[in-house]
C-alpha cells in the first residue's frame, strides 16, 4: 500500500497548444491503473507536415498498457480535446465518459470512424461521482467557449486532484453554466493535492472578460451596417453564434448559417438542451431571395481555412450567395498564431470585392475562452492545491505558469509531453520520461512523425525530383543511354541547354566509362548515378534534387 503512487503523464498538449491527452495513474509503480483525460488533435501546416490531414498524440505507451486503462474522460467537445477519439479509440478500447453535449460529438466521431458509438457513457455533473478502479471522478462544470465544459475531479487514495480542462471564469457566459464559485469551493474544501491547470493565456495580464460583455457591442455594430452582414466565429462557440444571431434579429435581419460545422454545432446544442431561444434561421436558398440589407450570414472559417464558407464567399459565389460592395464582414474571433496569412488572404479577397472587413477591434467583438493571468491566480486561490502542474500550453506558457504558482509558494514543475510526474509527495517529482511523439493522419493512413515519409516530401518540395532509368543488358553492359525525368525543376539552368539533357549527357559519360564491376553492382551504380544527378543539378540550377534511380536488368 505504501508503495502505491499517483502519477501524471501528458501525452499531448504539454509543450504545445493542441492535441490534449493526459494520463493519470494510481497503484504500485509500473502497475498503476490508468485513466486518460481527453484525446485531441492538432492541425498541421505546410511548413511541418505538408499533405497531412490531422496530427494525433502518439498513444503507443498507453496502448501497450490498455489492460490497465479504466476509461477515457472527455472534458469538452473542442477538436483539440476530442478530435482523435474516432481515429484512436480502437487502439485503446476503453469506455468513453462525458456529458451529453460532448457525447453527441464523441459519438459522431466514433460513428464516422466505424466504431461502436455505444462505448460513450453519459455522466451527470458533480456531485455525481463515477468509480473507475482506484479513482472516483466527477465532472465539475466550468465556463469556457463551448457548452458543458467540465473540469475533472479525480479522487484517489493519495487525495484529490483537479484537472481544470480549458476554462475561464465567466459569470455570464450567455449559453451554458456560469462559473460557480461556491461549487468550486465545495470541491476544494476537503483539500486538493494537485491542480493540473490550463496555461494558454498566462501571458494575458488583464482579468478575462465575460462572453456577455461583447453582445451589446456586436448588436450596435450590426445595427449600424447598411448592406449584408457576414460574420464569422468558431462554430463551436455556441454562445457567440447566438449573440451574433440575436444581433441580426434585433436589426431586422434574417439569419442564415453557412458551413457544415456551424449548422452541426447549433443542432447539437439544441438537441442537448443547452441552447434555447436561438433565432429562426433561413436556408441559403431562402437567403438568396432576401434583400441584402435584411440579411445576416453566419459563416465558418474564422481562421481563413481555404474551404470554409468565409473563404469560398470571398472568392465569389457560395451556395448562390455573393458578397458585394457595401457589405460588411465581421471577424468575431481572433487569429490563432500560424493562421495569419490565411486570414489576411481572406480579408484582402473581401477588400477586392469592395466589402468592408472589421476585425475583433482589440477585443470589442471577441473575448477569449481561456483564463488570463489574474484568473489563473484566482483559480489557484479557490482550489488552494498543494501543488500546481501547468497543463495545455507551449513551453513558454508552462514555464510562466510554473513561476506564477511558485510566486505564491505552491510547488510546481514544467512537465512536457512524455514526462511522468509523481504527485504523491510534497512536491511534483519527475519519475520517468517516455517516448511521446506525434502521429500523422495522412490520407487514410497513420504514420509516425519521425519515420521519414514527411521528411522526403519536404525535400521534394524544396528541391524537386529526378527519376533516372537505366537498362542493363544480359551481358552486363548498358542497353542504350540513361534516361532522366524531372518534376518540380526548371527546364534550363546555367548552360542554357535543357536540364534533362545536361544531366543525361553526364550520366551517359559515366556509364560509358564505368567498369563492368560498377555496372554489375546495383548499390554502387545507383549511388553513382544519384551523385551525378545531384552534382550536375547543383552546377546547373543551384539545387540538389531528390533522386529515384531505377535499374532494370534484362535476364
Amino acid at each position: 500500500m505504501s508503495s502505491d503512487r499517483l502519477i501524471y503523464l501528458p501525452l499531448g498538449g504539454a509543450g504545445e497548444v493542441g492535441m490534449n491527452a493526459y494520463v493519470y495513474g494510481y497503484g504500485p509503480p509500473g502497475e498503476e491503473r490508468l485513466i486518460l483525460v481527453d484525446l485531441g488533435v492538432t492541425f498541421p501546416d505546410m511548413d511541418g507536415a505538408p499533405g497531412v490531414d490531422l496530427i494525433f498524440p502518439d498513444i503507443a505507451w498507453l496502448e501497450e498498457r490498455r489492460d490497465r486503462l479504466e476509461a477515457i474522460v472527455i472534458t469538452h467537445a473542442h477538436e483539440d480535446h476530442v478530435g482523435a477519439l474516432g481515429h484512436l479509440w480502437s487502439r485503446l478500447r476503453a469506455p468513453v465518459l462525458c456529458r451529453p453535449f460532448t457525447a453527441i460529438h464523441a459519438r459522431r466521431k466514433l460513428d464516422e470512424a466505424g466504431q461502436d458509438e455505444r462505448v460513450v457513457e453519459i455522466c451527470q455533473p458533480w456531485p455525481e461521482m463515477r468509480r473507475l478502479g482506484p479513482f472516483d471522478i466527477a465532472f465539475l462544470p466550468v465556463s469556457h467557449s463551448i457548452p458543458e465544459t467540465s473540469a475533472i475531479v479525480i479522487d484517489t487514495p493519495s487525495g484529490r486532484v483537479v484537472h481544470s480542462a480549458d476554462f475561464k471564469i465567466d459569470l455570464t457566459p450567455v449559453v451554458g453554466e456560469p462559473f460557480d464559485r461556491a461549487l468550486w469551493e465545495e470541491v476544494a474544501k476537503p483539500g486538493v493535492r494537485a491542480l493540473i491547470c490550463d496555461s494558454t493565456n498566462v501571458f494575458s495580464p488583464e482579468p478575462g472578460r465575460s462572453e456577455a460583455s461583447i453582445a451589446p457591442e456586436i448588436t450596435k455594430f450590426v445595427a449600424a451596417q447598411e448592406g449584408m452582414v457576414i460574420a464569422t466565429t468558431f462554430a463551436s462557440n455556441v454562445a457567440r453564434v447566438k449573440s451574433l444571431a440575436m444581433a441580426g434579429e434585433a436589426a431586422g435581419r434574417s439569419v442564415c448559417l453557412l458551413g457544415r460545422a456551424m449548422r452541426r454545432m447549433i443542432e447539437a446544442a439544441v438537441e442537448a438542451g443547452v441552447l434555447t431561444d436561438f433565432p429562426k434561421v433561413v436556408s441559403a436558398e431562402e437567403a438568396a431571395d432576401i434583400p441584402r440589407e435584411n440579411l445576416m450570414l453566419l459563416v465558418t472559417g474564422s481562421q481563413g481555412e481555404r474551404r470554409a464558407a468565409s473563404a469560398q464567399l470571398s472568392r465569389g459565389k457560395y451556395l448562390g450567395l455573393t458578397a458585394e460592395e457595401g457589405d460588411t464582414f465581421l471577424f468575431s474571433s481572433k487569429t490563432i498564431p500560424g493562421n495569419e496569412r490565411g486570414v489576411l488572404n481572406v480579408v484582402n479577397a473581401y477588400s477586392e470585392l469592395g466589402v468592408d472587413v472589421q476585425d475583433d477591434a482589440g477585443g470589442r467583438y471577441h473575448v477569449s475562452g481561456h483564463a488570463n493571468r489574474p484568473d489563473l491566480e484566482e483559480i489557484h486561490a479557490i482550489v488552494n492545491p498543494a501543488m500546481v502542474i501547468p497543463m495545455h500550453g507551449e513551453h513558454r506558457m508552462l514555464r510562466e505558469h510554473m513561476k506564477l504558482a511558485e510566486e505564491n509558494d505552491r510547488p510546481s514543475i514544467v512537465a512536457v509531453n512524455g514526462t511522468m510526474v509523481d504527485l504523491s509527495g510534497n512536491r511534483p517529482t519527475v519519475t520517468d520520461h517516455i517516448e511521446a511523439g506525434r502521429i500523422y493522419l495522412d490520407g487514410t493512413v497513420q504514420i509516425g512523425a519521425m519515420d521519414g515519409v514527411i521528411r522526403d516530401r519536404l525535400r521534394m518540395a524544396r528541391d524537386g525530383h529526378v527519376t533516372v532509368t537505366l537498362i542493363i543488358d544480359e551481358d552486363g553492359t548498358a542497353l542504350g543511354e540513361p534516361w532522366c525525368d524531372t518534376i518540380g525543376l526548371p527546364e534550363t539552368g546555367s548552360s542554357r541547354a535543357p536540364l534533362v539533357e545536361v544531366i543525361e549527357e553526364d550520366l551517359s559519360q559515366f556509364v560509358g566509362r564505368a567498369k563492368r564491376k560498377t555496372l554489375g553492382d546495383d548499390e554502387t551504380l545507383e549511388e553513382e548515378l544519384r551523385r551525378i544527378v545531384r552534382k550536375t543539378s547543383d552546377t546547373e540550377i543551384g539545387k540538389k534534387p531528390q533522386v529515384t534511380v531505377v535499374i532494370s536488368r534484362l535476364s
Copy 2:
C-alpha cells in the same frame, strides 16, 4: 505636346507588403520616358513557394522598354526596396541613383551578382535635382527605420509628383535626419499634382511614436537584468541597434554584435558617416571570456529565421557562446505576419533553456517605421496634393488609404500591381492593365511563379511521388512486370500489404490484359499506368500521388 501624359505603374508592392517596384512615365502614350523607383524582394514561405530563395517583381514589361528607361532610383536600403537590384539589373541596364548609405548596399548587391557596381551614382538630397529625360528628380529626406531614407520628388511637365517611399514622421529618430516639416512645406509650395504614399500602417489609429521614445525604456530594462542580455531587432534599424548598444554600455556591459547582417549594417552606417558614437564592441571570442552579467549580445533573427544568430543560440551554442538559465532575451521588434510560428519556436527554445523572453510589450520596446493613420493625414495635409495614390500595402490597406484620402476630398484610386494609372487629369484614371506577376529565384535560376514548377513541387509535398517503369520488348510486348518506386508515401495501406506491391500487382494485371495497340502507344499507356497508380493509391492510402511513368522500348 498636348497628347503627352504622366503615368504611374506599380510592378510590385501594390497589393502586398514587399518587392517594391514603381514605374513613372512621361511622354506620348506608348512612348513615355520611364524611371523605376525601387527594385525590391519578397521572402517566400513553404505554403506558397517551397524551396524558393527570393521573390522578385516580374519586370518583363519594363525590360521590353528598357531603351526608354532613364534610371533606377532607390529610396532606401531595405531588402524590399533594393534586394532585387543585383539579380535584375542586367535586364534593365540603367543608371542606379541613390544616396551614400543606400549606395553601399546597392553596390554590394551588384558586386555579389557579378555586375559593375559603378552604375550606382550617388545623389545629394534636395534641393539638388537630377535631370532624367523629361523628369527632374530629387531625394527628399524623410524619417524611417533605416538611415537616409528619401521620398522622391519627381518634377514633370505635368507638374510635381511626390513618391513618399516608406516613411514615418519622426522628429527625434536617434540616427539620421529628423522629419523636416519646413523642407516638406517648401517642396509642397509650388503645388503637388500627386502624392504616391506608403499605406502599410493605415490601420494603426494612434499617432506614431518617435524612435527616441523607447530608448529610456530599453535602458531601464537592460539595467534591471542580472544575467546575460541578448537583444534582437532588424539589423537595418541602425538607430535601434545604437539604442540597444548604448543601453548595454550604460549598464556596464560589453556589447557584442552577432550575425553578418548586424555587423554589415553598422559598418556601412559608420562608413557613410550616418552613425557616430556607437559604443565599442567586442568579438564573439572576447565575449566568451567576459562574465555573463557584464555582457550584452545584439543578434540577428528578430523574425525567427532558422539560420540567424538568435535561433542558433536558442538551439545551443553559437560561436562559443551559450544562453543559460538566468539570461534574458529581448525582442526589440514586432513579428511580421506569417513569421509567428518561427518566432514562437525560438521563444520556446529559449524557454527550454530557462531564458526569460521579453517581447516588445505592446510597443514599449519597439516602434514602427511607418506612418500611422494620423501621420498619413498629416502628410496629406503638408503635401496638399491634387490626388493621392496609395502605394505599398495589401489590398485592404490601399483601399483604406484611398477612403482616407477621399474623406478629405482628394481624388484617389486603388491601383494594384500591373495597373497603369494616368495622373495627367483631374483625377487618377486607369488606362491599362499589364501582366505583372512574380519571379522566383530558385537556387540559381529565375522561374515564373505561374510556370508550373512550384505547383508540381507543392503537389509532391502534399501527395508524394511514384515512379513506374515498364520495358517493352522488340516485339511490342511487356518485358517482365512494371516496377514501382515511391517517395514520401507510407509503406502500407488499408490492405496491410506493402503499398508498392499492391500497386505493382494492379499494374501487372493491366499490362497482362492490355491490347497490343495500347502497349504500342506511349501516350495511352502512360496515361493508363498513371491512372491505375492514382486509383490504387487512393484506395490503399487515401491519396493520389504524383506519378512519373518511364516506358523503355527495346529496339
